[in-house]
Point group: C2
Chain length 323, copies 2
């Protein structure tokens, strides 16, 4: 594989985008920017520039300059390059558009710096992902449309495949919603034409606007879906939640933050036991400026856990299936 060195200089544009996430006990949010008037919002993003040593450094600088947000943890998610889902629909034809998505975590949601940025609860974009109050009712409608889509498949094989994907992602007709499969669910909705981004013709009226979630420009909702999925997966084996917490916090704040990220409710005593016996936190000595009942101890992250445990994280208790 070492031939036409010429083809190498096909024109390529590279866009770096970041899903910048903050979280409070009320729920996680993401920083969005609005570009054209009226168009859907998007993630902070910009073209790759030559001057930076690494991609991550470039992204970091760019976002920090533009939004006034200091980024904490930053990680690369995925490089998208589908020809027909270009990041920039205004790009020239025959020009490959790559889009490299990043996840960034920040401790506090600054009230949106100088730019036109604003913080948005992430479930506004993914209403079907929030099961904290139980299974959201809009899922019934989504499922019905998804099943129709599956049955409308061309051959029997394709039909079967679609049904299986539905079972594996939306848990249609089966047990077990798996919270990490955010991207898979979004992609299914995209393929089924059930999100505005998938419908080229903008005049198409969505059959059920409330259930589709707020769209974003270009492939930004796809990147956000990747980010949510990654974060949900990663809290289980890395103490990454603490990148989102203030320096000191209570058990309840921690639990509610995790619940917000994972989109599910957790069993309080067990969560507490888990966090304690994993050695993820230590007491600061101080007590919380209480919020209702008995004052709570203030905790902080215990970095030593990184050396003690192979995969220190918050395995989320999954209810046992009834035997």
């Amino acid at each position: 594989m070492s031939q036409p060195r010429a083809a190498r200089h096909d024109r390529v544009t590279v866009e770096l985008s970041a899903a910048i996430v903050a979280a409070s006990p009320a729920g996680p949010s993401v920083l969005t920017v609005r570009r054209r008037h009226e168009g859907p919002s998007g993630l902070p993003s910009g073209p790759l520039e030559a001057e930076h040593r690494t991609l991550e450094a470039g992204l970091r600088r760019r976002v920090e300059d533009q939004t006034g947000q200091q980024l904490g943890h930053v990680e690369q998610l995925y490089t998208f390059g589908d020809r027909d889902r270009a990041a920039d629909p205004g790009g020239e034809a025959g020009c490959r558009a790559l889009s490299i998505g990043y996840l960034a975590l920040v401790r506090e949601a600054r009230p949106a710096g100088s730019a036109e940025g604003e913080w948005h609860g992430w479930y506004g974009h993914f209403p079907w992902e929030d099961r904290r109050e139980g299974r959201p009712p809009l899922l019934d409608r989504l499922e019905r449309r998804l099943l129709d889509w599956a049955e409308a498949a061309a051959g029997a094989a394709e039909r079967r495949l679609r049904r299986e994907r539905l079972a594996a992602t939306f848990a249609v007709g089966g047990e077990g919603w798996i919270e990490d499969r955010v991207l898979e669910r979004y992609e299914l909705l995209y393929e089924a034409g059930m999100v505005p981004e998938a419908r080229r013709d903008e005049s198409d009226t969505p059959p059920d606007p409330g259930a589709e979630g707020l769209p974003m420009m270009a492939d930004h909702r796809r990147i956000l879906a990747t980010a949510i999925g990654r974060l949900r997966g990663k809290i289980k084996y890395r103490p990454i939640v603490f990148e989102l917490m203030p320096p000191a916090f209570t058990f309840l704040q921690l639990q509610q933050t995790v619940e917000g990220l994972a989109g599910i409710r957790l069993h309080k005593p067990n969560f507490r036991r888990l966090v304690e016996q994993q050695g993820l936190v230590e007491e600061t000595g101080a007590m919380s400026p209480e919020t209702g009942g008995r004052p709570a101890r203030l905790l902080r992250f215990r970095p030593e856990v990184l050396l003690e445990r192979p995969a220190p994280g918050l395995r989320l208790p999954r209810p046992r299936p009834p035997a």
Copy 2:
């Protein structure tokens, strides 16, 4: 972040590379190609071309055409773009070189098709990653040099940081080798100047050639490290090993394949129990053309498990630390 649309067309080259992995009970191997005579080998790779709809499709076609290998599972790993670790050192200055790494799994290692490809045991490139026969002796020498490097750090803070990284990756001075951290270990060796790729001046003689592993061209060993790490992590929650197994196999073959991938030995009865009660396999009915003792049942993967279990995989038994 929406300004200079001009800067957008900085010249960028994009190289797609694939770590193509096959595995037998004897151990995993990777397909390498040799380009220049005498230079180190590399992964199959080539420039991104405009004609393909998706990046993955492009990679797939390209590799299949060139090596005669049908690829099974393919997944994107990471996009590297450090300016000073360019994939192609021959590239023009001021031209950003992106390198998108992929992991591909194949069922059988074809004896290297038409091209100059050859299959290589992957531990030839990462001798410190193979602990199937216990801790490899060369680790003593590596550790000593790594500790020297840590102590040679500029400030006390940097020294501490380096020591912590050593503890977290090579388990220096602590418990717990974590098999997934392949990339982190390689990067540490790179930073410490302990792999040939890191030494620009090729005339430098390595202090301990045997311990450094076979180098590869450009950033290909970095991609392979990412691939190994990803694979080791993923077998724990996805039934991905079966992409590497023949259609029918015995328990022992499966176990040895997993041991090869993870680089550790497993407890036979427990491995068996795990695989059984997870419902990962079913009997084919046939028996193996035996290999020594009592004939073994032949098994096959049981795809239904994908719908039944949230994260069907092979949690590798980690010995309990002595209380």
